[in-house]
Symmetry: D2
């Protein structure tokens, strides 16, 4: 029954004693079912007698269970190879990405090991930072790529191009390039729309723009979105899912396209997107 | 060369002397090329000697030229049979739907008659008003269906369902269900996002909601969107493109789905969506 | 001790059996303390044996107790003579205007009759509708005066002048002229700011404007605000507190100024404005 | 006639050749009228033969002429002693603070030297940064004090108190505490209202808040506004007019009150606040 689940990765939220305890317990549960478990050092160090293999972001697993919140899931989804089913388990308040709560962990796993689950494929973005000075760096993101100024910087000027066409050159605090998945994260705080996670789109949402008619724009996810920093001598960064980042220099370009890979989120609860919205956003 | 354009409909903005004069001139231009012209009575009455046939919304034409603004084009696009190419000619300020300005009319027609043009297919919505008392009425819309209260009414309660799932029941002034085409119309004034006109989506934008976390939602255009009026004794209407409408009664339901037909807009200018945005919204 | 409270008006929310029952009970409570009670016919008809005088909006009272919600309080505050202390008792969910809940009614009255309360003076607005055809009509409002189009009307053009200076002439669904008290009502849904109720200001908030840089404006309450309807043949109304209204005709002008009178709300709870915000708006 | 203007400070925008040239020319113009001129080193170094005194921010002058834009004026207004009339001359596009354009410089000065001008008194804020570790630092601001996170930081938690009362503790990118003067600056980009510059208020506008019902709040300028940083280990700053700043540590408190001093802006043009709005914001 669990034949197709030979090796399961278990990732606990960094620094969370609760998550690490849960990981220990889960490791035992999986071992008792003859499943190999891969864990990170922080979890491994507390396991007495249990033999785990080392979790590596470049390896492939039959399933990765993420114990923590949306943040931990984002960091896993950005980095594991495409096609690995990821189950998010929320140990705090309900998230948009984490599928089940703590009390649902083992009942859900029973279902999953029995093959009774589906996969929801979420768009990932490839982000290429092309240096004006030559060279480039590559990143991946599940929620969003944000070009933003530092707190001490003045307003910045960005040029936005889509499919090699000028959209606008404008002054603001920055720009959010969001997947549908990320639409309920930073995009929503900045005034962007909520987007059904399965739609083939990206959302371009300016942060505190000086041009008041500049509004969030929904574009096809086949688009090539390019943002060029036109301001000198200010501290500006591109950040990925709010977790990684790199400093931009004058005339550097950030090119964002849909990744060939997708994140595969395990669905087992039957909860719909609209159900999550209603609960997370207190729509009564 | 113009063999495929035997009959052209010419529709002038109602009550506009300028549009009617232009229609007269255009009729002559088309007649000189051996093309039959269909016009409405307001245009026909001023044509001396020229023989036109009567324009009927249910007939089919090889091309319909709309002389006026976005409003006139909306009324034509909602009503003519699917598949008729529509060319919008703006006699005032540049619109989002009208493709060319007055000075471009004849050069554009030369291109079109020579077959050098493309068609942009825009989503239309079918709107079914299901009466709580039984029976139903059907409408079509290119920009939007708006459920809104009258000025003298108090706030209204609407239940929003997508694909038979409850999204929320909320108090507000109303709801806009917009196509991508309509995203730059009323939707934009109410805080909704701009949407690339070719995306397979609808936008659901609440008007002045009391629930502050209730934000515009972008959903697949395959969705069945249903709005039910939960308030008694207030004056509430559903309007289509701001041009037609019907009064809603307590517990009436408005169901919105993508129409099988699409509006076929003639593209001849090479202007992109982003170009129109930049100019219409003064993005500098 | 209750010497200064000889006659108390008791107003119950129209059509609410709960409010009427509470009014009956309250009438008895006041009678037992030797206080005369004035009630409206709907309350009087159910009082057996108790002799009440008829509540009249033009009469003066030592106190008016409003049993219902913010809506009932608004209708009383707009109409009773200036200077009458008004106590709002909320029978449903906490309001911004109603000071106490049902369970606090009698403890609060004991405090009030003993003179242990304060009065919070809220700005009222005088609204003069000057007809283009001659003549004028006068209204008063506690929350807001709203110039708005009906659901079936297209967008309207309004000219806004402050102190005889042109501010702008713009297209929209309408304009809200709000007191600080009204800032948490319709103004908030339309995107206006929250305003401390004791500030000497008015807020001018456009409803769904087409000009995207047109934002809510906070002006001195000494200002003369004038709004002129520039659109013909559309159905447009001015409404007061969402409760009364009049239809506007082409070129009619609505002039709004601070009233000489103020509404006197009884404060007995010690709750501050910020406390109400936190609870009503779920600021956690 | 010019008897009351014995010493005039002239401040040019740093690094602007245009502003420095204009300062040289203006110095000659003032010298010819027997007026002493104080300039900064960057201007003094290019003056041949003309004897100027050194401009010092702590000295007092009969007038300070600022050649540049709103930014240069802000830096002068924050630092010169209270009560010095400041004339802002815009060398680029019209600003909200700079009163006259280049072509109006000398005609305006003729008027001013003749005593035909008025002073508009603008609120300044005192900003006290109270360190959790003890000690405090003091700042002054004309537009705004902004508590904001750096680009690489995650969302921050702030507690907002007004007059020692809790308003809310919320997660966001930051908070703007704006004067009426600053309402058309960063506050406007972040969704805050426009405020008549003479009103006795402050505006508290959250930046990209996670609590969607958290909206801009207008409070009396007599209020004591206190913001406490509740997040550890993130990079957070308080900035003044976007020009100066200091890093905040965990549990540091920023206290904002109205300064006893005001900035005195010279008014000579007859342009009103509403006129500036209409032109700067393109209200047509």
């Amino acid at each position: 029954m669990t034949g197709s689940f030979r090796t399961v990765g278990v990732v606990a939220k960094a620094g969370s004693a609760d998550a690490i305890d849960t990981a220990h317990e889960l490791t035992g549960w999986l071992h008792r079912r003859g499943i190999r478990v891969a864990v990170e050092p922080e979890v491994a160090s507390g396991l007495q007698g249990a033999e785990c293999i080392a979790f590596e972001h470049s390896s492939t697993y039959d399933l990765v269970v993420v114990l923590g919140g949306d943040g931990t899931l984002l960091s896993v989804a950005r980095t594991v190879p495409s096609g690995i089913p990821i189950l998010g388990v929320n140990l705090g308040t309900l998230g948009f990405l984490t599928e089940v709560g703590r009390s649902e962990l083992y009942p859900s796993l029973v279902e999953i090991l029995a093959g009774r689950f589906s996969l929801e494929k979420r768009t990932l973005l490839d982000v290429e930072l092309r240096r004006a000075s030559g060279g480039s760096e590559s990143y991946r993101t599940l929620n969003d790529a944000v070009i933003g100024k530092s707190a001490l910087s003045r307003i910045i000027q960005l040029t936005l191009r889509v499919d090699d066409r000028l959209v606008t050159s404008y002054r603001s605090d920055g720009l959010i390039i969001s997947t549908p998945t990320g639409s309920t994260a930073y995009n929503l705080s900045a005034g962007g729309p909520i987007v059904n996670p399965l739609l083939p789109v990206m959302v371009l949402t300016p942060i505190c723009p000086h041009t008041f008619s500049l509004r969030p724009i929904v574009v096809p996810d086949e688009s090539v979105v390019e943002v060029i920093l036109e301001t000198e001598q200010e501290e500006v960064y591109v950040t990925l899912d709010g977790q990684e980042g790199a400093r931009l220099e004058f005339r550097d370009s950030v090119r964002v396209t849909r990744a060939r890979d997708q994140a595969h989120l395990v669905k087992v609860s039957g909860r719909t997107f609209y159900h999550s919205l209603r609960h997370k956003l207190h729509w009564g």
